[in-house]
Symmetry: C2
Subunit: 250 residues, 2 copies
DNA sequence: CGTGATTTTGAGCAGGATCAAAAAGTGTGG
DNA sequence: CCACACTTTTTGATCCTGCTCAAAATCACG
């Protein structure tokens, strides 16, 4: 096992000056199959060191699409604004995840991206990524896969919204955050929700009140402990059964 | 009776032997900016002549992802099957539209694709498309855009499911089909719905009964005439106002 | 502290689901 | 061509989940 990460990192949040080769998250946001020299090429085009504070925008709807963004620390939400300013939360992005692929189609972002807390973001200019993708087949494939993953996630949300009850939706989100945390070697059972009840509700097609009631209900059922934004999952299996308990045949 | 591609076709719909350069739909499914010789290259990799009958599968969930598919005629629905066989319709695809980009992420299709009526489909092997994309930058961009468009469509559906009433959802679908028809120089105000009420409901997160009631309601309001699957849009502007009438601020 | 935002809880309502059944369309074989 | 079975659509009656309105409790922060 090669241990290329020689220096110790301050663990709390961003160390944005670190290179991709040294980044703890690089197995998440870079293609694992990429050769070392190719990683350097990608590293060269990435703009780091953009600590973004709570409520600040990474990009806005209608902005020209120039880059995609990797989350190094913190949490980002994306929203679309329809018609007269009605917001729809379209995604939450945790460290190691990539956002901003909307807008590839039209050349303009359709979403806005907003930091839910102080976050460190790596900007990856898309023009360079396109060029590089032509040179590095594995990178092209990786970009395709990123887009494909976004589609898969969106379609899961469509099913969730279309077919599942409030309890099932909230439980699904909790399990999603749990599993994404464990990908980063964080606790799968105890974490702090970066988003408000209102944002959860908006994302899941529910009102604030319903989200709050569902959390109380799950707590009464001894599935979770929810103290404000601190969440503890007491019964992962029970939660999973709940999310799959929608086996209503057509 | 035998399906030999070289013999003449019953031409009710498809004339699949036509080359991409001659296809009436090529401005829809090929990048318009592509050079003539590049069109030929794409043309060479495309498999035509797969007339698909009603209820037949183009591909199934879990199938290896090997190709994307362009609809030449007819209509295709895509569905995901979650858990114990519960189906979710994730999209309807009309002539000139491309499906099957799910599965790029995992290498396996996450959706199944099923013909709603007799359809002609062009199969575009993805491995070739990848290779070709590296050679032809405008094609790579086109593929990115296809994926991006799929994301944009999915996100619009998410907003629709999350924020809009039954009436608004159905009206939105009718207007979507209308505008997609007019892209193909077909009537924007009179068409035959290729899908059943049940499929509409499944797609929009509604029951069959609700879809039927909504159509009756829209008809009573003189916005449409719905006779079985024959739909006439009487008041496009009225329908548009209906779909935007969801300006509830958070 | 005080002010405003967020969360929680309660009471009542309503939009869409469910259950039920009739009507209309589609297909098959005799 | 019709009889019959099956599917799809429509309409009605009732129920229930989640929304709306309201207010209290808790939190965040200057």
């Amino acid at each position: 096992m090669q241990e290329s990460i020689t220096t110790s990192f301050p663990q709390c949040h961003a160390t944005p000056q670190v290179s991709c080769g040294q980044c703890r998250l690089n197995t998440l946001c870079l293609p694992i199959a990429m050769h070392v020299e190719d990683v350097d090429k990608v590293n060269d085009i990435i703009q780091r060191g953009r600590p973004t504070h709570k409520n600040e925008y990474i990009f806005r709807g209608e902005d020209d699409f120039t880059a995609v963004y990797a989350v190094r620390s913190g949490c980002i939400k994306t929203i679309t604004v329809s018609g007269e300013g009605q917001e729809q939360v379209t995604g939450f992005y945790l460290p190691g995840e990539i956002l901003g692929m909307d807008g590839i189609a039209s050349g303009k972002h359709t979403n806005s991206a907003i930091a839910l807390e102080t976050s460190a973001i790596c900007e990856i200019p898309f023009a360079h990524l396109e060029t590089l993708s032509s040179e590095i087949p594995s990178l092209q494939r990786h970009v395709f896969q990123l887009l494909g993953k976004e589609i898969a996630i969106d379609q899961q949300l469509i099913t969730l919204l279309s077919k599942n009850s409030a309890d099932e939706r909230v439980a699904t989100l909790l399990l999603s955050i749990s599993s994404r945390n464990s990908r980063r070697n964080l606790s799968a059972t105890h974490f702090r929700l970066p988003m408000s009840r209102a944002e959860v509700g908006n994302y899941l097609g529910l009102t604030v009140e319903t989200v709050s009631r569902v959390l109380s209900r799950l707590q009464k059922s001894n599935l979770i402990v929810a103290n404000k934004k601190e969440i503890t999952l007491l019964d992962l299996q029970g939660l999973r059964e709940l999310t799959q308990g929608n086996s209503r045949e057509v």
